[in-house]
């Protein structure tokens, strides 16, 4: 044990750093759970207690949740975590943070396997450990972060399998099949990325694979099983719904625009050119290209990221420090002598990563393209390594670069732990917990509690924070539907629907929970819940009548 520790001291230290950064204040910062996180939490709780999800489906292969039909794996990973730690914010985020730490270990192993260079492997692992992008999603219960883990693990196992002999090959390849297969149940984008990436791997190593084909039977069967179970999910109406809801093809305005251009061409006498150039089969191509390229916008990567929930204030997804090394790394990757297959693997990973996200609206989207990781870090590591080897004043270089990196990291951590909760508590839906607990205390004084659907999926938050008994919930009908306009969800004394104060306060003695803008003129304010920056978040009120 001591020996292992000694030879791997650096790696051990990196892992410790990664662990600390991911677990410090986990469950406290970010300052609230977003709806997807609460859904994972409550559905895992429900599975743990009853074996069924909030709708009453038994061990589903995709969770209907908010009608977005979530891939199931993350929720199932939360089940043991909830069993162990109870239903709380820490438990919900625990699997993501843990797989985040493990991703660093496997990044080290994968990079070493790729480039046979210990220093580059250490650097890659270290850069991933401190990456704002990876930290952001390791510290919340978003599925995508675990998709990075499975991809890295699978690739490492695959490369190891190629090198191994006999039964070991079979075992490694089984591990690959399991990791890649699991990834298909992890996150939507992995369902695009993994098949394409696996194809690239198969093409690069087709000769090696043919040579070991007798070892590939079991792994192939495992892979096939995953795929077979996936098919009905993907082609089902619900799977299509998710695709239609988020894909650019759902928007017909480009088609309309193209037909307008053709109409203009008709008037201008350039009809046949127009018919070719504005062909309606082609109109989405420029949009896909634009979406794809948008993921490489420097301002987005280094400064603004995409939305408040995806970064710390004033910090982007990568450190500004990374920029010169990142560019140098890409350059060196092309010009330096390295294993050509490894080069192809890294480059094709980088090229394929944003493909799934590019088909969706709302790009660039750091969550849907997180599968980029750890490629940015590997490039940075390569750049740092080769620049260092070519520089004259090595000590000066070490001091300056480390100092600058330290400043960058310190600034990020300060922004993340001090300013993010204050500035972005609204984005983190802060206040649902406080409101739920307050209403639970007050409900005996009222006939019913109406929670406004303007709070966005309030039923999930109330179920989660009140730890409402899943069995009772299912017996009461469970969730009716998770659409954003749904107003029929209810349990116990709680009803989740739009507030219509005048009529609803007439019907029964009602306690209302809503946004500050929903407070009626003659409502009596019972409680105000503020965001962490002092702005009002939620108003709880009644009619004031005795």
């Amino acid at each position: 044990m001591q020996r292992i520790l000694k030879t791997n001291l650096i790696l051990f230290l990196i892992i410790v750093a990664a662990f600390t950064l991911r677990f410090y204040h986990l469950g406290i910062n970010p300052p609230g759970l977003d709806w997807d996180e609460t859904a994972h939490g409550y559905n895992a709780y429900s599975i743990l207690k009853t074996g069924k999800d909030e709708y009453g489906y038994k061990f589903p292969l995709s969770f209907r949740s908010f009608d977005d039909y979530k891939p199931p794996l993350y929720t199932y990973l939360v089940v043991p975590s909830v069993a162990l730690f109870g239903l709380n914010d820490f438990a919900v985020r625990f699997p993501s943070a843990l797989l985040g730490v493990l991703a660093i270990l496997f990044t080290y192993l994968m990079v070493f396997e790729l480039f046979k260079n210990r220093k580059i492997a250490y650097l890659s692992a270290f850069f991933l450990a401190i990456s704002p992008w990876h930290l952001q999603f390791s510290r919340v219960a978003f599925e995508t972060n675990s998709a990075t883990f499975w991809s890295v693990l699978g690739t490492w196992a695959f490369l190891s399998g190629l090198r191994a002999n006999g039964i070991k090959t079979t075992l490694w390849m089984c591990a690959t099949a399991l990791a890649f297969g699991a990834n298909l149940y992890m996150y939507h984008n992995a369902r695009v990325f993994i098949p394409l990436f696996a194809l690239v791997l198969a093409l690069i190593f087709r000769q090696n694979l043919l040579r070991i084909k007798k070892h590939l039977v079991t792994p192939a069967l495992i892979g096939l099983t995953f795929v077979i179970f996936l098919i009905p999910i993907v082609i089902s109406i619900s799977g299509q719904l998710r695709f239609k809801g988020t894909s650019v093809f759902g928007d017909v305005s480009p088609l309309y625009k193209a037909s307008q251009l053709i109409e203009d061409d008709k008037n201008a006498g350039t009809l046949w050119e127009g018919k070719i150039l504005h062909n309606r089969r082609l109109v989405y191509i420029p949009i896909l290209v634009r979406n794809y390229l948008s993921h490489l916008t420097p301002t987005y990567l280094f400064f603004t990221a995409d939305m408040d929930r995806h970064h710390a204030p004033l910090v982007g997804l990568l450190y500004l420090w990374d920029l010169p090394f990142l560019l140098a790394g890409i350059y060196f990757l092309f010009v330096k002598k390295m294993n050509i297959n490894s080069k192809i693997i890294v480059v094709s990973w980088f090229i394929l990563a944003p493909v799934a996200a590019s088909v969706t609206w709302g790009v660039p989207h750091s969550l849907r393209s997180e599968i980029y990781l750890p490629m940015f870090q590997i490039f940075t590591a390569i750049g740092f390594y080769y620049l260092f080897s070519e520089i004259k004043y090595k000590n000066l270089w070490k001091i300056v670069t480390c100092l600058l990196l330290f400043m960058n990291v310190a600034f990020y951590l300060h922004q993340y732990h001090v300013h993010m909760p204050l500035e972005f508590s609204k984005a983190w839906l802060y206040g649902r917990k406080e409101a739920a607990e307050f209403t639970e205390g007050e409900k005996t004084n009222y006939d019913r509690v109406i929670v406004s659907t303007a709070l966005e999926q309030p039923h999930e938050f109330w179920l989660y924070y009140l730890k409402y008994d899943p069995l009772k919930y299912q017996q009461g009908g469970g969730t009716v539907s998770g659409g954003f306009l749904e107003d029929r969800n209810k349990f116990d004394k709680y009803l989740f629907k739009p507030i219509n104060f005048d009529s609803q306060s007439q019907e029964a003695k009602t306690l209302f929970v809503g946004l500050p803008s929903e407070l009626p003129k003659d409502g009596r304010l019972v409680k105000i819940i503020n965001y962490l920056n002092g702005e009002p978040a939620i108003y709880i009120f009644d009619s004031g009548a005795k």
Binding site: L261, D264, V289, R290, L293, S294, T297, T299
Partner: protein, 494 residues
């Protein structure tokens, strides 16, 4: 004649460049932007009186809309206005000419760097068909004149052996460039500095004779010293000095010029600077530029143009908004060189399938080129009419032919700077205009109004209002732009 034979392919490229840049230049882009009208009228004013619209004798900066325009473009437009009259063509011709000539200079630049004729031709061709080049060559953009001057001094600075004559020319051209566009005030000094540093050994051999080019340069800079303030007014007005975190803002702006989405997919957000949903470059240039970056060797020769690549976005990055393709126009030279280099590398590598690759790349380039031309000539004029002030000409033609029946012409200033259009299209006598004390608000029968017009004097008035505003009196005429959208309503008030 021999020269043409020697450079027959270059002549073809130049011919292509001229054709794309001059064809229908008076009507595409439609109308005139207010800056263009100002350039035209000030040139006209200098031609007739030697003074600008404010009565300044041969000014160093043209006050115009208080944006203090750089002077070179306007002065060089004077002979064009003399030759062709005051119209869209004479205002835009210099820009189109600069853009066309740049294809020749870039050919020789590329030849000096790489010493390969085919590669040099490719670079010339890529600049000739570059969306960035075409869009800016067809409007009276002073920046395009700067681009040409920058290309000339880059060419000189790449000379194998420097002579006193070439140094003197370098001094003249770089000195002039500073008067051509605001960006040059930063780029040129930086470039000269790099030039001096990289070739200091050679320069030292000139000894005392170096005084000559230095003297020329200083002489050219003297006028600035006399009027330092006006010369930098524009820079101050648009700068990021008021921003909260200046270094951060600068880095952010700077990087935005290298955003692939900006370069290859959507382009500049300012309507006049790009074709909607088309990048500043062609998408096919993306892989070529990547290949070029990966394979380009940093040498004494390439370092100067890589340096130009790195400094080109600086002037634009200290200003707002970003990314602003016009202010960083010298990038178009670099990207054309990189694309050309990239393609020649690809063709070189694919020796066995040279014919196949050659045909394939020709087809790809041709497809993108044709579809850009289609968008630019057929759809863009319609879409971007409002950006180019399409409608003023039509309105003023009506006004000019009818104003004799009225005592006043009231023209809406809703879109800003309407007075310059009235001056431009009525070719109003500059001498009479300069004598007026209350510039801009009224001259001759014209007066300009904002939200609504109130009668100021007796007599019949012709009123031009934007189509959504209430117009007084009887409607006489609807003024449509080229797209067919209503822009102005002309009415008559008793």
């Amino acid at each position: 004649m021999n020269l043409i034979k020697k450079y027959k392919y270059l002549v073809v490229i130049f011919f292509i460049a001229v054709t794309i840049r001059f064809y229908g230049i008076s009507t595409v882009p439609p109308g005139l932007y207010s800056d263009e009208a100002a350039i035209g009228y000030n040139a006209y004013s200098v031609l007739k009186t030697g003074r600008d619209e404010y009565g300044q004798l041969l000014p160093l900066t043209f006050r115009s809309f208080d944006d203090y325009k750089t002077p070179l473009y306007i002065y060089l437009t004077v002979p064009l206005v003399y030759l062709f009259g005051l119209n869209e063509f004479s205002v835009r011709a210099l820009s189109a000419l600069s853009g066309s000539l740049a294809t020749i200079t870039i050919y020789f630049i590329s030849l000096r760097i790489f010493s390969k004729k085919k590669l040099a031709l490719l670079t010339g061709l890529f600049l000739a068909i570059s969306p960035l080049g075409i869009v800016f060559s067809r409007g009276a953009f002073e920046a395009n004149l700067m681009l040409f001057l920058v290309s000339v001094y880059l060419l000189i600075s790449l000379k194998e052996t420097l002579s006193l004559k070439s140094l003197a020319t370098l001094a003249v051209v770089s000195g002039l460039s500073i008067y051509s566009y605001h960006s040059a005030k930063l780029i040129t000094p930086l470039f000269l500095l790099a030039f001096i540093l990289t070739r200091q050994d050679e320069l030292k051999t000139f000894g005392k004779r170096l005084i000559i080019p230095m003297f020329i340069f200083i002489l050219l800079m003297l006028p600035i010293a006399t009027n330092f303030n006006d010369f930098f007014t524009r820079g101050k007005a648009v700068s990021i000095l008021s921003s909260k975190n200046i270094p951060d803002q600068f880095v952010q702006n700077y990087l935005s010029y290298f955003s692939p989405k900006f370069l290859f997919a959507i382009g500049d957000s300012i309507g006049r600077h790009s074709v909607s949903n088309h990048g500043q470059l062609y998408l096919f240039e993306l892989p070529l530029i990547l290949v070029a970056i990966a394979t380009l060797k940093i040498s004494k020769k390439t370092s100067l143009f890589i340096f130009l690549l790195l400094i080109s976005p600086i002037p634009a990055s200290v200003a707002q908004p970003n990314p602003h393709a016009l202010r960083a126009i010298s990038l178009s030279l670099i990207f054309a060189i990189l694309s050309g280099y990239g393609l020649s590398k690809v063709l070189e590598k694919s020796k066995k399938q040279a014919l196949l690759m050659g045909t394939a790349s020709t087809l790809v380039v041709f497809y993108f080129f044709i579809s850009f031309l289609h968008l630019y000539f057929v759809h863009n004029p319609k879409e971007k009419g409002p950006d180019w002030g399409d409608g003023y000409k039509q309105a003023l033609e009506y006004v000019n032919s009818h104003q004799k029946d009225y005592t006043k012409v009231a023209f809406s200033d809703y879109f800003g700077q309407a007075y310059i259009y009235a001056l431009f299209y009525s070719k109003y006598d500059p001498l009479t205009y300069q004598k007026k004390q209350d510039y801009k608000h009224q001259f001759s029968k014209f007066e300009f109004f904002g939200e609504s017009w109130n009668k100021t004097s007796a007599g019949k008035a012709l009123v031009v209002s934007p189509f959504w505003q209430q117009y007084p009196g009887n409607k006489l005429e609807n003024i449509y732009n080229k797209k067919g959208d209503l822009v102005f309503v002309i009415s008559e008030s008793e």
